[in-house]
Symmetry: C2
């Protein structure tokens, strides 16, 4: 007699969140100890409604396809579970006789995990709760890095390089690239790879440092004047010296938050109006977390392994932890998984080290030593003949 | 005793223009009849300055790398050669003793090719002039399609599908995707593939039909209300019923043209302000012509073949033509090359058939029968469990 398991996704998906799901399903099947494999349809919403998808018998081929399916194959939501929701959560867990619950998400989801774990213990429920980390933002503590980050970083690095080559091959404008990461610059920093892979000049601005617009424009003017094109890489969340976002739509959304928008376009407009240099802004946006052809194979393998690891840990009786990654970078990259107590991860935020930002607009070697293996290596060598 | 050849790039690059360059170089080497292989540094600018790159002895490995190098490896420019420039062009051709000239570009470049060919004939110069087609816009006449289009279309199709999956997996907003193609909808139409590859609803707007904003918003509201998320794919160049672009930056560039910008962001703002639905706009922009991981292998092979074909045609004495593609789609796709007189191609524009636009916002099967083989096949089958 085995047990039933439930897996749910929380928050924004990554390019490899379904690889973790694949790991969960395959480990559960391989164990021979799981009766039913359930997934919450649209994350917390599905848990609250008791709306679960039964994945027990989906074909192996479909499971394999998860490895190249972007977004969340089972659906996710932004809803954060609150204290008032927990009785309903317990009801669903009981109704489906869930023995292990896996929550695949970021900071908020780990906090939820932590609370459900404590609640189940108080209620005397035989429930094991394991977190599986996921965030392109890479802002989870304890773990060396987060599944989802390596692929978002590879997307940023290669896309920025491709744009930089376009900008230097036809140097008629300054190209401004906006990347995701409202509060943290981990992904945007990876865009600075373009300075290493191409002959183009690159200026990079992260949200961790306020931007002095006048100085930025002076640097852009000087950089463009040196020829060979110029790429400016900015995080969507960069702020001015007044601490306010450089750009917003002026629109307030249903949650009362001002909708940010068009940081790159805003800078591009400044370049045209104030420097009288032609400019264009590009904003791939969600593609940075959804693009499959740019997935880092290392990231995909680690996301898969984290899913498997969580299932195996739960089956041997572990609970209240997250599958975290420890990494060794010398002499060559290798990583392994360990269990981190959920309390250490919940609501903590790993900051981008300020000392990795050089002169306000360049990224130090230390970042690339950290991030390059996560991006999966195999960086292209371009043929530049001009 | 062989001859010297010159190759130049004109206008915006594509993801496979360097594959044509690879074809030119390898065919020239294989022939044993070419003494020196020159490339114009930054296209017409290099020709006018006599600034040529000598590629005769670059390593074979570098030539191979051209196949995955985006943008133009030799540089391009937007400058269109004018009558007053031609004496200078002839001077460069004579100074470097050029026997064959290959111009790799779109409409304008084919017009230039045509004029140089006529001029050389008038001046009694022993010069063969061949055009190699290149445009992501696919608007060249006579040829079935244009090298560069298949990859831009594959980028549009897969990126739109990835965004559609993100939009339906976390259906908290309408996602608006802006794609390149100011005057023609060939590339944007490929974004409608998302409706075939995912479970998300997709509305597609091409620049060929004026957009009634009220009707568009009504369709967006109804589509979003049906659930499963909504992706709106728009060309950067769509116009309102007054014939004016839906959005522009209000900035006039150095050439006196109003700089367009933010069509997707404009529509996204309308959705939020008028429909009170959350929305976000994505604009990968130049990535649509520079992305290497999304390159269509069919497109890359045809671009390479076009470069080779032009060299071999020139060496057997042909001149005044462009390497054009004829394609057969049944029972399976195959293509071959033929010579099209430059006069038939220069300044003509292939229009997107209006009958391929259904109800103003969907794309007919006929387009996909035309375009799918060019995108290189191998479309992903996604695992959708929700």
């Amino acid at each position: 007699m085995g047990m039933n398991i439930l897996v749910a996704h929380g928050g924004g998906p990554t390019a490899v969140i379904n690889s973790s799901l694949q790991g969960v399903i395959e480990a559960a099947r391989d164990s021979g100890r799981v009766d039913r494999i359930y997934a919450a349809r649209f994350g917390a919403e599905g848990i609250l409604k008791g709306d679960l998808i039964d994945l027990t018998h989906i074909p192996a081929q479909t499971v394999t396809r998860l490895g190249h399916t972007p977004a969340s194959a089972i659906g996710s939501c932004r809803r954060k579970l609150e204290d008032a929701d927990y009785p309903q959560v317990l009801e669903t867990l009981k109704a489906f006789n869930i023995g292990c619950f896996f929550y695949n998400g970021g900071n908020d989801s780990m906090d939820t995990c932590c609370k459900i774990s404590a609640l189940a213990r108080r209620e005397g429920l035989d429930l094991r709760v394991l977190g599986i980390p996921k965030t392109m933002d890479n802002d989870l503590e304890v773990t060396d890095h987060c599944p989802g980050f390596g692929s978002a970083a590879r997307y940023a690095a290669l896309s920025a390089s491709e744009l930089a080559l376009d900008a230097s091959a036809l140097p008629i404008h300054v190209v401004v690239l906006e990347l995701m990461g409202r509060n943290t610059g981990w992904v945007t920093a990876a865009g600075a790879m373009a300075a290493r892979l191409t002959d183009c000049q690159v200026l990079t601005y992260l949200p961790e440092l306020p931007v002095d617009t006048d100085r930025m424009l002076a640097d852009i003017e000087a950089g463009y004047a040196r020829g060979k094109g110029l790429l400016v890489v900015v995080s969507e969340g960069i702020c001015g010296t007044d601490g306010k976002p450089l750009a917003d739509t002026g629109i307030v959304d249903g949650f009362g938050h001002t909708v940010p928008g068009g940081t790159a376009q805003h800078i591009s407009d400044l370049i045209m109006r104030q420097l009288h240099i032609k400019s264009r802004a590009e904003k791939p946006g969600l593609l940075g977390r959804a693009s499959i052809p740019y997935v880092s194979p290392v990231d995909r393998a680690e996301a898969y392994a984290a899913g498997r690891y969580a299932v195996n840990a739960a089956l041997r009786g572990e609970s209240g932890s997250m599958a975290a990654i420890s990494a060794c970078r010398e002499p060559e990259y290798s990583s392994s998984l360990f269990l981190a107590p959920l309390e250490q991860v919940a609501n903590a935020e790993k900051k981008f080290p300020l000392e990795w930002i050089v002169d306000g607009n360049r990224i130090s070697d230390a970042f690339f030593q950290y991030a390059m293996p996560l991006m999966g290596g195999n960086f292209p060598e371009y043929a530049l003949l001009r």
